[in-house]
Symmetry: D3
Subunit: 261 residues, 6 copies
C-alpha cells in the first residue's frame, strides 16, 4: 500500500502509517464533539460526524491526519445545545471530558506527533478543551497544540444574507438549524428525517443560565432556531467555508510543517 | 444590632444574621473572580474586588447577601486575561476551581439559602462555573441557582460611543482597559497607578488559542487594549449599568423572593 | 420515518427515536473498544469497529440499540494488545476509562434505558469495565446492566480446528491475528493491507507482566500470532458465532424485554 | 509610584510589583483561614481577616508580601470551631482545600517566589495545609516553604494571667472568645456586635470526636468559651505577641533573605 | 465453633461471625496506623501492631471486634514521626489515606455495623481520619462513628514521673521512645533490637514545619527522644492505661450497645 | 542483631534493615490481597494471610523481603469471590485500590528498592494492580516491577487429579474451596472451622456478569465449589508448588540480583 493511499481517518490507519505521519510532522487534527440531541430530524452523532466530514474534505488541501475523534462532549446547555433534559444526549462530566482529551493528546504526543489541533464542534466544550491542552503542553513544551474552540467561518454580512435570508438568529441558536441541517443534507442526506424539519424557537432568550434547567430557555423539538431554510447546496458552500477556515489556521500555525498536498 | 444595619458583605455578617437572611429567602450573590495581572496600573485583585463593590451598590436596590466571594479563578488565557506567563497571576486548575465553587454552593445550601447567584467577573471561568452549579443542583433540586457567566451590561451603540469614543476594541480585549480602570478610578482611586496607564494592544488577534502560549496574542504590559480613555466618571456610569443589569436578572428570576429594599 | 426504518446505530438515531426505544425497554448494547495497534495490516480502530459491525448484524435477530460505542480503552498490554510502546495506540488511564463508561451508562439511564449491556472487545478493559457498571448500579438499582468482558464465542475443538488448522495459539495471542483479520476481510476488506500480512510471535510467553515493558513479550509487527490463516469466509463464520453468543446472553438476561424482531 | 509605597497586601499589588518582590526574595506569607461561625458577635470572616491584619502589622517590621489569603478552610469541628451544623460556615472538603493551597503555592513559585509561608489561623486546617506544601516542595525543591499550622504566640503563665484572669479555658476552646474578640475590638471594633457578647461553654469536653456531630461538644452560641473578658487593649497586646512570633519565625528561617525594613 | 470462641481479630473471623457481631451491635474498633521507621530498634509495623495488641486486650473487658486494621498512614513528619526522608517508611498521600478509611468504613456499614470507632495510633493521621468519617456519616446518618485521633491515656504527673523519671520529653517527641519501646518489650520482646536502643534527640525543636525537610527537626536514629528508660513492666502498665482509656470511651459512647463481657 | 537473623516480613523489619536490603538489590515481594468472605469455615483475611505464608516459605530459597502486604482488594465479584452482597467483605473502590498500590510502590522505590514484585492473590485485582505499576514505572524507569496477577502454579493434569480426584471445578470457582482450605489446614489449622466445611456450588455459571448482583452466580455459603476434599497434606504440597512458581519468576526476572540464600 503506497503512502498516497494511506487513509486520512486515524481509525482507518495502521500503526506504521500513523508513525510515518507523525515522523513527517503532519498535523493531527482531532474532531472534538458530543453525542447530543439535534432535533427530531438530525442524528445525535452530529457533533462528531460533521467535523470528521469537513476535515476529511480539508485533507484534500493540506496533509493532515483526521482523528481520533472524541465522540462525547461536556454537558449540553439549554441555550446552546438544548440542555441535559433531553433523552438521547450522552454527555460527560467536566472532569471526565477533560481527562479524555488529556489522554488522547498525551498518547498522540507519545506516538510522535508534534503538531496537534483540537477542532471543537460543540460549543459547551469551550474552556474544558483548553485545560487538558494546557496540562499536556506543560509536560511537553516541545509540541505545539492549537485549540480551535470555535471552528465557524467568518459569517460576513453577505454570507449571513445567503444562509439566513429572513433573519440571522445568532450563532448560539444555530443548533440543529440551518448550518447543521444543510451540512447533513450535503454529506449524508439519507440520515436527515426531512419530514420532521420544522421551525422552533425558545420562549426565553437570556444571557444567563438557570438551574434546575428552565425549559423555556430551550425548545420542545431540540432545534433552537428554524432548520427550514437548510439545503444541500448551502451544505456544500458551508463545507467550503469551514475548510477554508481550518486551512487558514493550519497555514498560520504550521506553515513550515507537513507541506501542501 | 437591628436587621436594617446587618452588613451586606457575607464575611462581615455573623452566623445568626446569615441564617436569618437565608430563612427570609434573600438571594445570595457570589462574586466569582480571579487573582490575575491587570497591567502595571491595576491591582491583581481586580476581578473579585470590583464585582464586590458593584454588588454592594446593587444591595441598595434589592435585598441580597454579597458573597462569600471566590478570589481565585481558572487559568488566565492570553486573549482575555493576558495568560499564564505573567507573574502575579494566581490561577486554579480547572478541577480545583470547580471544587471550590461546588463546595461554596453546597455550604450555602446547607446554610438554608434557596436562591443563589454566581456572579462571574473573569471570562475564563465560563463553563467551569456552570459545572459545579449543575452538580449541586442535581443534589438539591429545590434550590434555584442562577449562573451569570457574563455580567456585562448591554453596551448599546450609544454606550460604546460614550466609553470608547475612538473605537470599541471588543469585549475580549477589554482587560485592564477602559471598563476596569474606570471602575477602580470611581471606587478606589488610590489603588490606580495613574502614571503607568499607557496604551497597548496584542500583535496578533485570532479566534483560536496556541500552546505553549504565543506571547504575541497578549501584550507586554498586560492591558489588552488602551486604558487611556478611562475616567472616574465613566466608572460611576458603568457601576450604574452593571447594577441595572444584575437587578434586572434578580427581578426576572426571583421576583417573588426577598422583596425590594 | 417509520419505526421499522429507525437506524440501529445510536449515533445515527434521533433523540425521539432513542427515547422511544428506551421507553420500549429495548436493550442498549454498548461496544467498548480501544484505539490500538493491530499490526501493519489492520486499522487501529479494530476494537470498536468490529464489535459495532457484529452487533449491527445481531440487531437483525433481536431488537437492540447498538451504541454509543466507546472508541478508547485501557492501556494496551504486551501479551494481549502489544503494549504501550507502539505508536498509534491511544489508550486511556484507568481512571479516565472508568469515568467515561460511568458517564455513558449514567446518561443512558437518564435517557430511560433499563436494560444495558457493556460489550467489551478489548481484553485489557476487563475489570475496568465492571467498576463503572457497579457504581451506576448502586445509584440506579432498578436498571439491569450486563457486563460482557469477554465476548468471544465458545471455541469448541471443532471450531478451533476450523479456524487454526495448524495450531491454536491461545486466545491471549489472538491479537491482530486470525479472528480479527478474518472479520475485517468479511466486513470491510478494503481496509486490510493484505500484502503486509505475515506471521509473527512473541519471543517470550509468560504468565506475568514486567515493567518497563519487556518487548520480548510482544512482537515487532504488533500481531501476537500469525494472521496468515485468516480468510473472509472465516470472518463470515466468526460473525455468526459472535452473533449467536450475544443473542444467547440477551435471551438469558432480557427474555421478557423488547422481544424479537 | 515608588517601591516604598508598594502595598503590602498581595491583592492590592500590581504584577510588576509582585514580580519585583519575588525577584528580591521577599517572603510571601499566605494567611490561610476559613469562613466559619464565630458566635453571634463576630463576623464569619474572622479566620482570614484577623491574620491579614496581624501580618500587615508584621510587615512594618520585616519586608513581606501579605497574601493572597485563602478565605475558606477545612470543615469546622465541634470542639475547635463549633462544627458543621452551624449555618453561615462555608467549609471546603479536604480534597478541595488541599488543591487550593497547592495551586496557590504553585502559582507563587511560578511567579518567582522562593520563600513562602503558610500562616494558618484555622485549627482544623492542620495537616491539610501540610500536604499541599509537601507536594509542591517535591516538585520545586529549590524553594523553601514554612508551614505555620499554629500561629499562636507562647502563652506564658504571665500572659495567661493577663488574658484570662479568671481561668484559662485551653486553646482548643478559644474560639470566638477572648483572643479573637479582643483582636476584632482592636482592629475593627465596628464589626463587633458588643451587645451579643455572652459567656458560653460546651456541655461535654472530650478528647475524641463523634459523628453525626454531638451538639453537646459545641455550644448554642458558637463561642466555645466566654468572650466576656475581651478588650481592645488585649487585642493590641495580642497583636504585638502574634507579630513577635511570626517575625521570629521569619528571622529563623529566612535570616539571609529580604532583610529588615 | 461456639460464639464464645469467635476470634476477636476481624481478619481471623468468618463472614457469618462478622455478620452476627454486627447484628448484635458490637462496636467495631479499627486500628489506624502507619508503616513508619521507629528507630533502629523497633519494627516499622509498630503503629498498627501495637494498637491491635492493645485492643485485643481491651476485648477482654468489652465486647468489640478488633479490626480490620489500616496498616498505612499519612506521610511521616519530622517532628512527630521522623519524616519522609527515612527509608522503610511507607506512607500514603492524603487523598489515598482518606479514601482507604472511607472505603473501610463504608464496607463495615454495609456489613451491618452501627457502632464504629477509628482508633488512631499515628499522630500525622489527625484530620485525615476525620474527613472520611464525616463523608461516611453524611451518607449513613444512622450509624455512630467515634474518631479517636489521640488514643493516649491521660499522663498525669504521677504517671509521667513513673514513665520518665528524668524528664518528660513531650508527647510529640515520644516516637520510638519510652512508650512504644516498652509496649513492644511487653507484647513481643523478640522483635525489639535491644542492643540498638540508644538516646537521641532533635537538634531543633520548633512549633512550625519546613519543606524541604530540615533534618535537624528529626534525628539520625529515628527515635525522637530516648527509649533507654523503656521496660517490659512499663509496657504492661501502659497497656492497662491504654485499655482503660478506650474502655472509657466505649462506655461513654456505646453504653447501651453490645454489653460487657 | 546479625543480618542472618533479619526478619523476612517487612513489618517486622527496622528501617536500617530495610535500607540494607534495598541497597543490596534484594527483591521486595508485596502480597496483594483482599479482606473477603471465604465461606463459613475460613477467615476473611485469607487473601493476604496465605500469600504472606507462602512467600515466607519462599524466602527460605531466595533472598526476598516479604511485604508490606496490602490487606484490601478491589470489589469481590460473584463468580470469583462471592460478590459484594456478603457481610464481612471489605473491598476498596477501584480508584482507592490503585492509589494504595501506587503509593506503596512509590515509597518502596524511595526507600531504595529496584526490584519489586506485586504478588496478587485476589483475582478481582487483575488490571487494577497493573495500572499503578505502570504509573510508577513511568516515573521511575530504572526500577523493575514484576506484576504477578495470577500466582497459581501450573495445575498439570496429574496435579489436578491429585487435588480434585472427583472433578476439577475450574480455577474461577476455586474460592474458599480445596486450595485455600488446604493451605489454611497446613499453615494455621486452628483458624479453620472444620465442622462448617460443606459442599456448595453456584446455581448459574456464566461467562458474563450482571448488576445488581444475581445471587445465583454465587452461593449461599460463600464457597464457590466444594472444600470437602481439602487436607493439610494437600496444603503442604500446594505450598511447595506456589513457592516453586514464585522462585521461578524471581530467577527469570532477577537472575543477577540479590543471589540465593
Amino acid at each position: 500500500m503506497t503512502e498516497s493511499t494511506t487513509p486520512v481517518l486515524y481509525h482507518h490507519m495502521t500503526w506504521p502509517e500513523i508513525a510515518a505521519a507523525a515522523g513527517a510532522d503532519v498535523p493531527v487534527v482531532i474532531p472534538v464533539g458530543a453525542t447530543e440531541q439535534h432535533g427530531p430530524h438530525l442524528p445525535v452523532g452530529t457533533d462528531w460526524v460533521l467535523p470528521e466530514r469537513i476535515l476529511t474534505e480539508a485533507a484534500r488541501y493540506r496533509r493532515i491526519v483526521v482523528g481520533p475523534f472524541v465522540p462525547f462532549g461536556y454537558r449540553s446547555r439549554p441555550g446552546s445545545g438544548g440542555g441535559q433534559q433531553f433523552p438521547g444526549t450522552v454527555s460527560l462530566r467536566a472532569t471526565t471530558f477533560m481527562s479524555v482529551v488529556e489522554d488522547v493528546l498525551t498518547e498522540l504526543v507519545r506516538s510522535g506527533f508534534r503538531n496537534l489541533v483540537l477542532y471543537n464542534w460543540h460549543y459547551e466544550n469551550s474552556g474544558f478543551v483548553y485545560e487538558p491542552a494546557f496540562l499536556v503542553s506543560e509536560r511537553h513544551p516541545h509540541v505545539k497544540i492549537v485549540v480551535m474552540e470555535d471552528v465557524n467561518p467568518d459569517y460576513t454580512p453577505e454570507r449571513r444574507e445567503q444562509l439566513w435570508p429572513a433573519a440571522f438568529p445568532g450563532l448560539a441558536l444555530e443548533h440543529a438549524a440551518v448550518i447543521e441541517t444543510s451540512l447533513w443534507m450535503h454529506h449524508q442526506p439519507d440520515l436527515v428525517r426531512a419530514d420532521l424539519i420544522a421551525p422552533d424557537q425558545p420562549e426565553r432568550v437570556v444571557n444567563h443560565d438557570v438551574l434546575p434547567i428552565d425549559a423555556r430557555l430551550s425548545t420542545a423539538s431540540g432545534a433552537l432556531s428554524s432548520p427550514v431554510p437548510a439545503s444541500a447546496e448551502k451544505g456544500r458552500v458551508l463545507t467550503e467555508w469551514f475548510v477554508e477556515r481550518v486551512v487558514q489556521v493550519l497555514d498560520e500555525e504550521f506553515s513550515h510543517e507537513g507541506g501542501t498536498r
